[in-house]
Symmetry: C2
Subunit: 596 residues, 2 copies
């Protein structure tokens, strides 16, 4: 069995000491009450739920998995999932960041990111049920009509129902333009609104069917009659599992049901459904043929949340592998016995084990800063009083999303691998829990867009299409930071390389843009290595900020020393990975010849 | 479901074109008949067994797993495993490389390596049953007495029984000096030999119990009364599942039985047993207290075999991901539509997908050359007529083993990850088979010594303790090769960097040796990065040899082009990984401060 302790100290350090979140948040519209005290209290409560309620269900949920009953087309979630959901709903967590108008608490996204990290560390598979709900609510909030929000969103915010996002079809994955699900006009329904008959098959639908709540609201992409081909002919529909009566109470069963659940490598407690829509009744949300755009507005939040999943798994894997390295006695230190009264020294005396632990720590704590920084920009984007500040934050956030998603999840695969490796053969055994983290982490580089898709989004869209507006803000910020601390001799070994890598990042980007102009294939040849390069430099910047903040903070000497040590480790042994990515980028598309 | 086609063309290319195996093998003692024709025929038969009999059992075996019956303490292997084993035994495969004196065919180890690759690609979990037998036979052949070989080894060679190696205990993993199993003298037994009563618990015993054969021969490490503490007080014992009557027929059940099987991340068809020895009857093999030395003589073969497992899984994962990339239609090429008559282009048009495929191909084909080269050295070591040639080959082989094991398995994790990634979300689904390869591959960096253990073996033992004799041979070989081809302008872009990296490898090693002399902890701080560095340079050398051999060979133009392309890719995008490993090595132990 594995341990989990909510990393409140590091979250507080990241939020308040490094990012100065209190000053930022209380200065936003409606943020007067978002003080450190309030946020602290929320974090503590979330930590308790994660540690005490969710964490114990994680491994049993993996072993038990979800069960599908063919006769009733229903899914039974693992033992404890419903109880955990009830506590989650009862605590008001479903509406934490949702509008007060629909029963939410309108707390900042950055706080939601921190609490979500803990819930996901507790039980990633379970956390997908509320996560998908969030996406559905955002879509309805941004694109729905008032009556739709009243009828379909509010019960989700209240934790009585959940939501899904039904995009993928067997032939349409990364390329949603290929989707075939149809929507036919079919008379009037609730609120005298037009209804549509939805028919088609969706796959990989997380939380498509379950026993946690009495109803499920599916948001479904489908084509209206005569819609343009490709991605410009897709509309978005609300399709509830149970139709509603005029008063909002549950009516008859709709023609939307799970046809099967997938047997997956991990997140076995999450019901990944094949959804059959057999003439299901649905309501159009947003304008016709603009469904993909509506979906994309939710995509950023969903992608950031998946990045947080990587962080969450890596955090718990780190806690356990550190614990194991401390307790496991095997062999002696290379320079002689350290624990003479024990039959052997612990694993921590081995430099190679410390290398694996520091790698994890550098990625976990760096990733935490990255996702919180990213989330904070979305808060500023949403609620700053100054429109220019809103725009800048939005551009920064959009730029960082593919890094938060693409890089943090890949590093999480590496972290969970190293954590398992520290256990040796014991890491391969189910009941020790480490292999589950590795299996669960493996989904995070696949869903909500693979790493290749994130890389293309970063380089193709955020950098090239949008002329790198967000990137420029970020480079300016790094440059100003380096300037500001240029006289600090204690930081010289960090600031120096950071400035060099940041400059190279900019130079390389300009060169790449020219290369892509000459040959669009260069984009694909460079994108993934460019994504990694961007990630490593971004984390380097955040690590130096951590060192600066720790120096000024009130944390213990050991906490500060750990931050300095980890930053030094990162600069010495991780940041040089940029060298190989640079070589790969410079190799260009000529190094990737045709394969037949 | 996944495909598998025995990679006979590439195996033949590696064996005959690159390594010149026919000339080498037919020049060895007893090797007159080991012609290309003979080897070819054996490869073809092994390929058929792997493709037709083993490959179809792989995924079903993973889903079904092994079942343990507590009442009888027996294990049921998945459907088809026994039938496959019967065909394997019937075909004489169990004795392929074993002495003719005990019923084997005394064929070269390098041939055994190639056939084993295919069996492991077919079904890794299944392949562990005969693999462990091989280790047990080698131990008995090298350290046992004649009557022991007649009674216990011969039935294994004939495929009637299997063997195990019982080393690990709960408190004794990498550090076998901590083991506690006891052996007490207990009168006379078979052949009037001394017997011992073995008591203790062993864990992680592959094939410790199963239903494939009528008897199992356990080789067990245990302590005699009054044995010195630590690793110098360990003896090796033969402990059969069923005792033998004087005529060799099966007698009564011995006190050695499985107490449980582990539920693991992968290789679920392999029974990984907790073995309880409750006063079991055993026979000492080799001298008292020298058991660990006896085990270590087998270790090289076992480690090489695990390296081959990595290769085997990566090969099959590559075949499937290439196939998928060819058939999956999704999106259009960056430079415009390539398949106008299809709803979308295939994945192969995406440079990023080709990057993932070429990474796999570079590692798979390079790893194949490495393990075959390594195995060929063991053949020369065993049977060259010139003692100096034997010694040199032995030193080369020993030097390469930790690279073959440590690096090939780590690269296999990367390959199976990339192969899964190409499938996107579909890679996460069990029935598509890719996630099984990733799970199965994960064991290879753990058992027979973790990657950290391989790294310590390479740098600590093979380089520093043994004054790098094998390393010197290898560097001289690379240097001579570079010299020989220095005038070949077509090779310049490969030979140049190879010579530079090889020189740097040597220089860095000398510097490291000095550093370790000053502080032994530097060994642990550098070892894993040094292992990778060594692996990447080794593969670079073998890739240039491939290009040279392909140029001179009779293969198709497409085959030759693929070799050139993959070598260029490797040099452009993979070999620069050495830069980051060098930086990490140079960072030294100061970058890995204490963690408490």
């Amino acid at each position: 069995m594995t341990i989990y302790k909510a990393p409140l100290d590091d979250q507080r350090f990241a939020l308040f000491d490094v990012l100065g979140a209190e000053a930022v948040l209380t200065g936003l519209k409606g943020g007067e009450g978002h003080t450190r005290d309030l946020l602290d209290a929320v974090l503590e409560e979330a930590g308790k739920l994660a540690e005490q309620v969710l964490a114990p269900t994680n491994w049993p949920g993996d072993v038990e998995g979800c069960r599908y009953d063919k006769a009733t087309r229903t899914v039974t979630t693992p033992k404890g999932f419903k109880e955990a959901f009830d506590q989650f709903a009862g605590g008001g967590w479903a509406g934490l960041t949702m509008s007060e108008a629909y029963g939410g608490q309108a707390l900042p996204a950055v706080l939601g990111t921190a609490t979500t990290e803990m819930f996901q560390s507790g039980n990633l598979a379970w956390s997908l049920y509320p996560l998908l709900s969030e996406g559905a609510c955002h879509a309805m909030e941004m694109h729905g009509e008032e009556w739709q929000r009243e009828r379909f969103m509010k019960p989700i915010v209240e934790g009585r129902w959940t939501g899904t996002m039904c995009l993928t079809e067997p032939q349409a994955g990364s390329d949603l333009g290929l989707l075939k699900t149809r929507a036919e006009p079919a008379g009037k329904g609730l609120h005298d609104a037009d209804t549509y008959t939805i028919s088609g098959t969706k796959i990989f639908i997380s939380a498509g069917e379950h026993d946690l709540t009495e109803n499920i609201v599916h948001l479904v992409l489908a084509r209206l009659p005569g819609a343009p081909a490709g991605s410009r002919g897709i509309s978005l529909f609300i399709v509830p599992k149970f139709k509603l009566n005029a008063d909002g109470s549950l009516g008859e069963r709709n023609g939307a049901a799970a046809g099967a659940i997938e047997h997956k490598m991990g997140i076995k407690g999450s019901a990944t459904c094949v959804m059959n829509f057999d003439g299901a009744e649905g309501y159009l949300i947003g304008p016709p043929h603009k469904g993909l755009a509506a979906m994309f507005t939710m995509m950023n939040a969903a992608r950031l949340a998946v990045g947080v999943q990587g962080l969450a798994l890596a955090e718990r894997a780190l806690q356990n592998s550190l614990n194991y390295a401390r307790e496991r006695l095997q062999s002696r230190a290379l320079s002689g016995t350290k624990f003479p009264d024990k039959p052997a020294d612990n694993l921590l005396v081995q430099p190679d084990v410390r290398r694996m632990l520091l790698t994890q720590r550098a990625f976990v704590e760096g990733s935490r800063l990255l996702v919180l920084y990213n989330a904070l920009q979305t808060d500023i984007e949403a609620r700053a009083t100054d429109p220019a500040a809103r725009q800048k934050a939005g551009e920064l956030a959009a730029f960082l999303i593919p890094i938060s998603k693409g890089v943090v999840t890949e590093l999480a695969i590496e972290c969970t691998k190293e954590a398992l490796q520290i256990y040796g053969g014991h890491g391969y055994i189910g009941e020790n829990g480490m292999e589950q983290f590795a299996r669960d982490a493996r989904i995070t580089t696949l869903y909500e867009g693979t790493t290749g898709i994130q890389a293309a989004d970063l380089l193709g869209r955020k950098i090239l299409q949008l002329q790198g507006v967000g990137f420029k803000h970020f480079l300016e910020e790094i440059s100003a930071f380096c300037q500001q601390h240029s006289a600090d001799t204690a930081l010289r070994s960090l600031i120096g390389p950071l400035a060099v890598y940041a400059k190279q990042w900019g130079d390389m980007t300009i060169k790449l843009a020219q290369g892509v102009q000459a040959n669009p294939e260069e984009l694909g040849a460079a994108a993934t290595d460019y994504l990694y390069y961007s990630g490593y430099v971004t984390l380097a910047y955040l690590w130096v900020r951590s060192v600066v903040a720790a120096e000024a903070g009130v944390q213990s000497a050991a906490f500060k020393q750990a931050k300095r040590d980890t930053a030094s480790f990162y600069f010495a042994r991780i940041l040089p990975r940029c060298l190989m990515h640079q070589a790969a980028i410079e190799a260009g598309v000529g190094s990737l010849p045709e394969i037949v």
